[in-house]
Assembly symmetry: C2
Homo-oligomer: 248 residues x 2
């Protein structure tokens, strides 16, 4: 086999001993790690995201995602849950890792690599627990600028949400347990920023057959009330399709 003539200078890492790695791990090569949470909600027929005012002078007046440094004894997912719990009081929430952002100068305090999660919560079901730093909900479509690289992080998370919501039953996480088909359609329209045909939408979801008619109606609506449904996760798990097809 042909052996390249190119230099071997950078192969050192391949023959490191455990103790050498250990000393690197323990000393020079450590980096601050944070978790940032993009917390999506749905209200007033709009997709919302939870923001606070940045603490830092450099970003004075700018809004920021919720995040914190990861403790070295803490799992990444746990850090994300902790941040979410602190701010929303919610525990059992849909959450997904998006991407890790590590630009050298993304944080003014030095090198901080951040692992980003997004989560989907049902706004109606809860009130925010701690309103420090003006914690509150913002329309995703109206956000122009955020502290740090958080606008880029939000855009990336939102794009991932748009992709995933078309292939997985995520929309239900943004709604109460009981919801009308109109509400469900509104979630899709808000996330994907499109209009859909009402009849075709209903047909599609009934055909999938994991909405359960709970025999209740909307209350206090100024028009004919709609039926309410539950999402049956077990039925979904059994029926979900293995999608194959080349399409781009």
């Amino acid at each position: 086999m042909h052996m390249s003539k190119s230099s071997h200078t950078s192969q050192a890492q391949t023959i490191k001993s455990l103790s050498a790695i250990q000393s690197e791990v323990e000393s020079i090569n450590r980096i601050a790690l944070s978790v940032d949470c993009v917390i999506f909600g749905f209200d007033e027929n709009k997709l919302k995201v939870l923001l606070i005012r940045s603490d830092l002078k450099k970003f004075q007046g700018k809004w920021s995602l919720l995040g914190d440094l990861v403790d070295p004894r803490e799992e990444l997912d746990e850090a994300a849950s902790r941040i979410l719990k602190q701010r929303t009081g919610l525990d059992d929430v849909y959450m997904e890792q998006v991407k890790t952002f590590g630009s050298l100068h993304r944080h003014p305090a030095g090198r901080v690599v951040t692992v980003v999660y997004y989560s989907l919560i049902n706004i109606q079901n809860h009130k925010l627990k701690i309103l420090d730093n003006e914690l509150h909900w913002h329309d995703v479509s109206e956000i122009e600028d955020l502290a740090f690289d958080h606008k880029q992080i939000l855009d990336c998370s939102y794009e991932q949400l748009q992709r995933r919501v078309q292939e997985h039953p995520l929309a239900f996480s943004l709604l109460p347990k009981k919801f009308s088909l109109r509400e469900l359609q509104n979630v899709y329209e808000a996330i994907l920023n499109i209009k859909m045909d009402r009849r075709n939408f209903r047909k599609k979801f009934f055909a999938m057959d994991f909405l359960v008619d709970i025999d209740e109606m909307e209350q206090d609506v100024p028009h004919r009330p709609g039926k309410l449904y539950n999402f049956n996760y077990n039925k979904y798990e059994k029926k979900k399709k293995k999608w194959v097809g080349i399409d781009f």
Copy 2:
């Protein structure tokens, strides 16, 4: 607005000063960060991945992905490119971040969080540069166990590849610039682990209209030679579709 009665004990982080964050960033809260590369190739009609023997006694005899610690002054993408370049000599390679793995005890040297990238390279075009630690290609389908959590990382990367290859023109990165339709189909069949109809496959790709007939034929094949094509990335960029549809 209703103010929750729940404890405020964990809100401390929201009012940290920059200097407080700075001292955390500089000291106690740092974590070793590595990058691992899942390097896919295609040969003998099989999807391959590049592995080395693990350096560590604990994993003696086990194969491992290629990775290294991230230098605090180095971008994550650069670290991934560096690892790839060291081992394959290749520069200009398709590469995508997959996910970050951070289980507390995934690495015997201590807490090491790892950012995983996969890349797609054309095996035919090159020979491996450095063969230390028995660096070589393995059939993805035959890998049973790897050092660290690398089997889990490989599975996750492979699943992501399977999803992405159906929606983006990645397959071309695994082939030489000139390829036959049969080779292209073989890539899809290997990645997705399915058989496809030859006529429908051809129809589909010709309809997409970004394969360029370069008016050359296969050489030295023991049967009727096929035409060779290029992938025209510009044409793809213009034509690619914005895909909408709920399907799960």
